[in-house]
Every structure is written in C-alpha cells, then in structure tokens.
Amino acid sequence: MALRLPAIMKTTAARLSALYLLLFALCAVLLVFYMTSLSARMLLAQSQETINEEVQGLGRAYQRGGIPVLVRVVEQRSRQPGANLYLLADPNGRILSGNVQSIQPGVLQREGWTALPFSYERYGEASGRRSQGAAEQGEVEAATEVGHNAIAVVLRLPNQMILMVGRDLGEPERFRDVIQRSLMLALGMMGFGGLLIWYFVGRRALKHIDGVSEASRRIMGGDLSGRLPVTGAGDEFDRLSENLNAMLARIAHLNDGLKQVSDNIAHDLKTPLTRLRNRAEAALSGKKTGADYREALEGTIAESDQLIRTFNAILMISRLEAGYSAETVAKVDLAAVVRDVVELYEPVAEELGVGLEATIDGDFVVSGNRELIAQALSNIVDNAIKYSAGAVEKPHVDVTLRREGDEIRVQVADNGEGIPDEGDRKRATERFVRLEKSRSQPGSGLGLSLAKAVMKFHNGRLDLLPGNPGLSVLMGFPGPKDE
C-alpha cells in the first residue's frame, strides 16, 4: 500500500479530489464566517433595541414617581429570570441598586452606548462561580476576567445619579461557539471524506488503467487478438475500452488484409519468378543454338515485364488507397473516355469474336483524373471481353454511359458465365482474388481491385451486379453538384 500511495497521488482522480476538497473547504469557511458575522450583527441590533425599550420604560417610571419608583421598578425587573442588566449608581459610581455586582471600571463614567462590550459580574451566580474558581485555582481572579460580556447604555439622571441598562452578550457568543465547532467538525469530516474518495476512486481508476496498460502491452507483444477489459459498468472506462477495442479490431482486420495480400503476392509473384528461373536454367542446360537462347531470353523479358506490371498495379492501388494527391484532378469528359476505351479495345474484341458496343446517352463531365478513369475502364472492358468469350450465344460486351438520379454511371455488361455467387462477386474486387474459374486466364488479378481503388478515389463506387446472363460492372460517379 505504501508503495502504491505515491502512484495514487499521481492519478487524475486523486488530484481532482484534492482540488475539490480544498475548494469546498474554502467555500465552507467563507460561508461560516459570513453567517456568523451576519448573525452576530443581527443579535447585537436586537439587544440594542431591547435596551432602548427598557430605557424608555424606566424613563416613564422615573417621570411617574422619581427615584423611588425607578428603584422599585429596577429591583423588580432585576429579579425576573433571564433579566437584562440594571444598575443604579450614585454620581460617584457606587452601585446602589440593580442586579450587577461589579462592573469593568470606567464603563459608568461615559454616557451613552458603551463603545465595546465590557465585562461585569451579576449577583448570585457570579459570586458562586468566582469562589469555585478561586478554590480551584488558589487565587482571586480579577472581576474583568471572570465576568460576562455585555453591552449597555449609561444615562445620567437629572440628579446626577447613574442608570445603566444592559444586555448580556452570552447568547451571541454561544451561538458563535456552536457555529465554530460545527465548522471544525465539518472540515474534519470533509477532509476524511476527501481522503476516502481519493483513495477509492483513485485506486479504482488506477486499477482500470493498469488493466488497459497491461492489455496494451500484451497486444504490442504481438497478440493482436487480445482485447482491453470491459467491466460492463458502462462508465467512461468501458466506453474508452470499447472504442480502443473497435480500433484494435480494425487494425487486426487491416493486418489480416495485409497478411493475405502478402500471401497472395508471394503466391502470384512466386509462380512467375519460378517460371523465370526455370526458363533460364533450361536455357543453360543441354546443347542450344543461338535461336534457343534468344527465345529463352525473350521469354525471360516477357515474364519480367509481367512481374513489373503486377508491381506497378500494387503500387498504384496502395497510392490510391493512401490518398492520392489531387493535383491532376480536372474536368474529365467521360463520354470521350468511354469512346476512346471502346475504340481501343474494339479490334481485340473483334479478333476474339466478341461484339463490343458503346451506348452513350449524352455528354457527361466529372471531376477526376482522365488517365485513372481510362485505366479503370480498360481493365473492366478487358475483363469483360475475356470472360464473355465463353458465352453460349454470340458473345458481346455492352458499355453504357448514362445518368441515373444523382449518379453518372458507366456500366460494362457481358453475356459470359458471370459470377453467380454474391459472395464471389464481392470478393472479386479484393486484391489478388482470382476466382477459381479465372485462374487459368492471364492477368495479375489486380484489374478490378485497381478499378475499385480508382472509383473510391473519385468518391464513386464499383459494383459487380449479376447480368442476364453474365456480369455487369457498374462504375458510379457522383454527379456534378452545380447542376
């Protein structure tokens, strides 16, 4: 625990709880001070009002019957329980009547309100307390030290006698004591609570984060199937873990893709490389004429050209997928591109006995890269011609260009065997996927993947749809927005 505590101190939760604790304590102290000073002032004002009323009452008594009546009223009021302070003294300050036994010197000499609370001693209780205190402490305490505090008004009667009416301050002082005590208690409890929260919340957070850290280390160690712990509490830690897990799943997917691609590269490049090597080896063995060597070398060059082609296609796809620079994006006349590609392939199609026809329904301009679009379309047309050659009826490939809603569509439909299975159609645009039937056909297996990457680059789509019969490849370009 002692080792972990410093770590806890470093957690955000601990810092936050410390900060909140400090803030709340400060607020509480301020609030209590404000409340006590406000209530003290209110109590004082109340005392002064009471005294004023008393003075008025006594004044009336004095007017009614002079000193004797005043003395009687004073005596009478002095004896009431919880009475105010009353004092009647001769002009020299000697106490004649009232319930005050002794008073702080000098108080009676000043007329009007006492500026500061003064100490006094009341008859009865005060003497008892005094003797008790003296007995315990073995010395006589000064009256000023043991007495209660009070405020009072001092008046001089017409015959120079002194009348004092006062009120004990014990009540507001007791009130202040209570508030101060509760403040201390509250502060103590807050401190304790803060520490408690600090410890539990911090430790919980630490436990979560440690779990995440450990899982991350495991995953970094190579276990890509590992996932971060999700407690099921649905709190922010869970949400974080869920998001990180989703990210990990995506990475794992990409990694799988990469692995599959490298497997495919290995396979698809190994085969021609092996052929290349065999050809060179065969050329070296046995008796060969110059023509044989020439043939072997030409075959070697043709084989390497195919390899380079495959590499170029791989490179282009990855560049397109990595976000190709948009510098060469311009307005492209799609109709012209379709016409060009169809015209380019027409002789090849004819040679293979495939009818190739373009239907262009209007002029369409998209923003994009003419070369890339032409490359993509030529890959698709190339495929369509190859695969329609095996058609039952007269093989033909139809290329149509038209607008469909917001989309400008180039559709290449053949009447070959097509790809009946939907899953196969989906897979056909993946890199290096060559469906079983097409394995015998020449090609890198990258044509459709490249076309798909090109369409993605143009914010469009490439879909393989079932034809009737055959396969229909749809290149969908987003239509111009300014129309």
């Binding site: 060597y293 020439r294 070398l297 030409e298 060059i301 050209d305 380079i308 082609r309 170029n312 296609a313 490179l315 282009m316 560049r319 190709y324 620079s325 510098e327 060469t328 060009d340 015209e343 380019l344 392939y345 002789p347 090849v348 040679e351 890269n369 070369e371 890339l372 032409a374 490359q375 030529s378 890959n379 190339d382 090609g443 044509g447």
Partner: protein, 238 residues
C-alpha cells in the same frame, strides 16, 4: 553483351547522348547499350557535373535520372532551360505516377520513362527525341517508299492506289510515317496516338497495328510496316 534488340536497325549517324545517372551499374549498362546501338554516351554521376557537361557539350539528347546526388534532376533541367539550352531531355524516374510525370514534363523534360524500363523502350524514345532527326512536323505530305500520306486532304495512297482508313488508323499511320525509319514502341503509340499513359494490359495496340498493316500491305508485295521484336514497330521502305 548480346545484342539488345533484334533486327538490323540503321540509325542516322549515331547520336551524342549525355546520361546523368548516379547508379554506376545502370549508367555503365546504358553507356554500353547505347554504344552497341551506334551512339556515343557520356556519363555524369551527379547533378552538378551533369549540369556542367550539358552546359558545355553539344549533346543531341540527354537522359536524366530524376533523383541525383548534389542537384536534383528536375533542377538540372530547369537550370539548363533557363540558360537557353534546348537539348531534348528524357527523364528517368522511379516515381511513375501521373503527377510525377506532369511535374517532370513541366520542369522542361520532353519525355518521361518510369523505372524499371526496357532498354528498347528507352532507345526508341531517345531516337525520336534526337534533335538532329528530321523535323517532319511542317511537311504536308509524308512519303515512305511508295506509301504516301497527304496531311491536308487526309488521304493515303500506296503506288497511287487509294487506301481508306478509319480516323484512328489514319492517325496511327501518320505517327508511324512521321517517325519512319525509327522504332516506335507500343506505349509511344498509346501516348501519341491515343493520348493515354496507362498500361492497357493486353495487346490492344498490336491488334490496331495489324489492322493497319492489313490495309496498307494487302495486295502489295513488299512489307512496309515492320515488327521489331521485343521493341515495337517501324515503318520503312524495302
């Protein structure tokens, strides 16, 4: 070294070629291969010395690698162009994207070839770039042997016999005749006749050429459109 391309090709005189390439092996190979094709090639190993050589010497054509030590290939070309040097330049580059090609040509290059390349392709392109090659742009009638192409009336005759061509076939023949006696590769045809730079996967160009050949050779005893194995085509009388 075995002959790099088959067929006996007669080159007009032999060119003086400057090769600026930092890969020694590749540069040596190019020097030998150019010599074998009847040309003289000088090699510079970095941008600075290449610039100095190009600035001083009179070359018919330059082959400049794009990435060079000390001074970038494009900067060499731009520097030469700003000094009024108009020697045709073919840029060699490992960067082969459309953008790279555009920036290369914008910097003053006349042609762009991506590594790895076939030497036959490079040679054909360099020979077409040769500044001493006859400039036929302004001629209105191209003649190769008994084949005649009138650029004003867009008519083609062989032995005064009219030959009807499709527009694309006409442009194909026009390009071949403009470079008569020179090897023209398939990619050069795709670039110059169709204006596309992509890789068409199959032998589409070959089929176009053989169609054209059918039209200009059928009924005539002498072949005129020759296939140069491993390289491309050449239009040549006799």
């Amino acid at each position: 070294m075995a002959p790099l391309i088959s067929g006996k090709i007669v080159y007009n005189g032999g060119m003086k070629i400057l090769v600026i390439e930092d890969d020694r092996e590749a540069a040596d190979y190019l020097q030998k291969a150019f010599a074998e094709a009847g040309h003289t090639a000088h090699v510079a190993g970095d941008g600075d010395s290449g610039f100095a050589l190009a600035d001083a010497g009179e070359y018919d054509v330059m082959v400049v690698d794009r990435m060079l030590p000390r001074r970038d290939g494009l900067s060499v070309i731009a520097g030469l162009r700003s000094r009024g040097n108009t020697t045709p330049v073919l840029i060699l580059s490992a960067l082969g994207e459309v953008d790279d090609r555009v920036t290369g040509l914008r910097a003053g290059g006349d042609d762009y070839l991506t590594k790895p390349y076939a030497f036959s392709e490079l040679l054909a392109r360099v020979e077409v770039l040769n500044r001493r090659a006859p400039a036929r742009e302004s001629e209105t009638v191209y003649r190769v042997g008994d084949l005649e192409l009138d650029r004003l009336s867009h008519s083609v005759r062989r032995s005064s016999q009219e030959i009807t061509l499709q527009p694309r076939e006409y442009r194909l023949l026009e390009y071949l005749m403009r470079h008569a006696g020179q090897v023209v590769t398939r990619t050069m045809l795709l670039e110059n006749v169709w204006d596309y730079h992509f890789d068409p996967q199959t032998n589409v160009i070959d089929v176009h050429v053989s169609r054209l050949r059918g039209k200009i050779e059928k009924g005539f005893d002498k072949p005129i459109l020759h296939t140069i194995r491993g390289a491309g085509y050449m239009l040549k009388a006799g």
